[in-house]
Amino acid sequence: MSEAILQVEDLHIWFDLDEGELHAVQGVSFELEPGERMGLVGESGCGKTTTILAVMGLLPANASVAGRVLFNGEDILEEGENTVAPHRWKDIAMVFQGAMNAFNPVKRIGDQIAEPMELHGTARGRQAKGRVGDLLELVGIPGSRADRYPHEFSGGMRQRAAIAMALACGPKILLADEPTTALDVMVQAQILELLVGLTEELGLALVFVTHDLPVVAQTCGRAAVMYAGRIAEEGATADLYHDARHPYTRLLFAATPDLHGKEKIISIPGSPPRLDRVITGCPFQPRCDRAFAPCPTVTPRTVSVAERHVAACHLNEVPAERLGGAGATGAR
């Protein structure tokens, strides 16, 4: 196994709100290897965006953080802004959700892409201009379009430009937050092809945050499924689909329509728990179709269920014979 470029260890994030404290991320751990594509999936409010904002050191002032985020073995959250700022954009970059709509409408695209380079001193003037052209070509836009304004670009081109902007300072890790959510399916396919191509050509590691399971299934080798601020299950995407070890993973796939699938699509009853209250037991227990004795009271540990496959579910800790065969929680 090669050395991880990014390690997130027992990350906790609290938001101090008027109504009280919200425990948005409750002990998230994962690792990312160079050039790897990893999905971070879950429904709204599960903490996936908050997690990657913490990695960027971009949480709002009312957030408090515990745990460690290691870039090449160095804890970048250790002293807050002091330790994370040198890495932001240069080593770890992010494409924000809706970035394609966040360009300044009265500035040329090229100048906006050059901005982070000048800010971080990686390139200036003519050199920055040349680099902008290269970046645009890299994401599939003719370099000559650098002097166009955002309204002259289509949605897909603006998303490509937003990706070029994130790559301006040559990062090793790209965090992409719902990069295809507002796009049509054909443009989505083009952007996915681009992201996959970038990881392969540049050796860029990608964390792909989305609620869209099929997109992750087709682009990422590995994924973490988040629920109520925790990782319910993490492993190879093929294993998550074919050998799910957490009922939430299985039910989430079962709730997702597949173009050629024939099975009935079923929704998951109920809704996620509130994160401003202490959760006892397994957070998914009230909605789970396999809940049993320990679930309402005992918090499940995250255990390894196979090689590079972990899950936080009591079913994995019960002897197989008592469940009527191994993999009884599987997605079959």
Partner: protein, 352 residues
């Protein structure tokens, strides 16, 4: 399917939005331009049927929905409801029909008034149509909530939208459209704002209403959803239906090159299902200048010279299955034998 006229017939609907020329444009007598949002759309919806209108943004699917409910006036074409031409009815004449044709909006976070209790939201259409809310109305409200899956209704009737989940809000919105006992429901992207885990519940609800006899026109960008829930699928491109047929046939045996490309890029939830996405270059062109001939020709991987001059009409390609492409149907070679030129093929060639 019942005999007699279809519940809804749309014939050759054309809707253009005129664009302003601006001051300079006016004094220089620049020709007026317009957005051809709908450019000859025809289809039918029967009672007890769910028709999905599928397409990318800007293809005209929402304009179609809004034209049918007469929120937008069409330039030409006809809309027949239960055999009666409603295209040019005045607002007053439309009023009794509005009970029968109801619209469900995309975003239940915006379509519900936050100051209205569930009861008020559902009462409003009754009051507008002069139903005695205290008498008959109350029972109608309770039964609408129940039909929308909010049961027992007493549990929800006094709540405010902020006390409800997204799925529950959409059920309230659907209850408000059901309370007048409509015959046709037009649902514009009814689940796209909802979390995946609750979508199936709303779609099952629509499927159940369809089984109980309602006709449903569902607008969606999501082919997978259409494949699972619709009886028939109409695929739109640039203001025109390019393929229309039974959902199974359109998905398993698509005929129009656009449908084929669209289906090839829908990602599968199974990571091991390796598709060969057939990426089309660019994006759907601007509907202000629709190309002559086939509107899909500039992006079509199978384009031939004659496609640039012939504007194809829908014609039969199978049982109740139609496509608007001169290369399919008739005595032509089956389309599968023609090798589509894909970007991936080109890359492979370059790499070889």
């Amino acid at each position: 399917m019942s005999s007699g006229p279809p519940l809804l017939e749309v014939e050759n609907l054309v809707t253009h939005y005129r664009l302003g020329r601006g001051f300079l444009g006016t004094i220089t007598r620049k020709p007026e331009s317009s957005v051809h949002a709908l450019d000859g759309v025809s289809f039918t919806v029967h009672s007890g049927e769910l028709l999905a209108l599928v397409g990318e943004s800007g293809c005209g699917k929402t304009t179609t929905a809004q034209t049918i409910v007469r929120m937008i006036e069409p330039n030409s074409g006809r809309i027949l409801f239960k055999g009666k031409d409603i295209t040019r009815l005045s607002a007053g004449e439309m009023r009794p029909l509005r009970r029968e044709i109801q619209l469900v909006y995309q975003d239940p976070y915006e379509s519900l008034d936050p100051r209205f209790r569930v009861r008020d939201t559902i009462e409003e259409p009754l009051a507008i149509h002069g139903v005695d809310v205290a008498g008959d109305g109350r029972q109608q409200i309770l039964s609408a909530l129940e039909r929308a899956g909010l049961s027992p209704p007493e549990l929800y009737i006094d709540r405010y939208p902020h006390e409800l989940s997204g799925g529950q809000r959409q059920r309230v919105a659907i209850a408000a459209s059901l309370v007048l006992n409509p015959a046709l429901l037009v649902a514009d992207e009814p689940v796209s704002m909802l979390d995946v885990s609750v979508r199936a519940g709303i779609l099952d609800l629509l499927a159940g209403l369809r089984r109980s006899g309602l006709g449903i026109l569902m607008i969606t960008h999501d082919l997978s959803t259409a494949a699972h829930y619709a009886d028939r699928i109409a695929v739109m491109y640039l203001g025109r239906i390019v393929e229309l047929g039974p959902a199974v046939d359109v998905v398993r045996n698509p005929q129009h090159p656009y449908t084929r490309a669209l289906i090839s890029v829908v990602p599968s939830r199974d990571p091991l299902a390796r598709a060969r996405p057939q990426l089309l270059e660019g994006e759907t062109p601007n509907p202000t200048d629709i190309p002559p001939g086939c509107r899909f020709a500039p992006r079509c991987p199978m384009v031939e010279e004659r496609c640039k001059s012939i504007d194809p009409e829908l014609r039969p390609v199978g049982e109740a299955h139609e496509a608007a492409c001169i290369l399919v149907g008739g005595s032509q070679r089956p389309i599968a034998e023609r090798a589509p030129r894909t970007r991936r093929d080109e890359t492979e060639k370059r790499g070889a």
